[in-house]
Amino acid sequence: MSDSEVDETTLRLERLIPSPPEILFALWTQPAQFIRWWAPDGYEASVDALDTRPGGRWRTTLRRSDGSVRATSGVYRIVEPPRFLAFSWAWEDESGTRGHETEVVVNFESAPGGTRLVLVQRRFASKQARDNHTNGWSASFDRLTRVAG
């Protein structure tokens, strides 16, 4: 067990993608586009809800050929085409009960030859933070603007 693992409070992924932000943003926010990339091999993705207005629900289901399903769902916080997405995130179990709740922010920044995509997933620090979406959100935003700046 290293200290860095203890210290880690967010998941952060960054990559350069040789496509413009507009294409990536559409793939993320339009249901017909979203299902083209969301499902791993052996799964079929469907979009149950995808309301990109702030406060709008999203829910997607991954269905395996043996009939088992894994759903994820949440609420959109901020949608700024084609640069920025923020939404809450939780896996659901078979009975539809939502698991550990987190916040995800995705930044699509124009870069030479394409887009620098930064995805940050933040675990809620406390029940209070989870119940106070504004605080949970602004902490994520501060962090992301620092890393993207």
Binding site: D3, I23, A90, R98, H100, R123, F124
Partner: protein
Amino acid sequence: MADAPQLDSLFAALADPTRRAIVERLLAAGELSVGDVAAPFAISGPAITRHLQVLERAGLIERRIERQWRFVRVRADALAPAESWLSRQRRHWMAALDRLEAVAAAQTPKREKS
């Protein structure tokens, strides 16, 4: 998936910098008396006690009492649920972004070489 309340309390306990520092100190030292845990921190004894209670409730540390001394240490595998949740989530996004990149590439016009 580990159950959500367990992960919630684990991540909440680790979200506080003082508690994270306590856990790191215990990981480095093994076992310490409560007084030794508190030594480097410029906060009151009751505040340290509260932090230790949060860590204990989250299943991160355990206490041992020997005569008048109280010792604390990190529980073996205490961090495993958080780590396995994080690593699963990381794998999920890595694979998803691979697929996103591939589908986006098929939709991106080839740039003219100048």
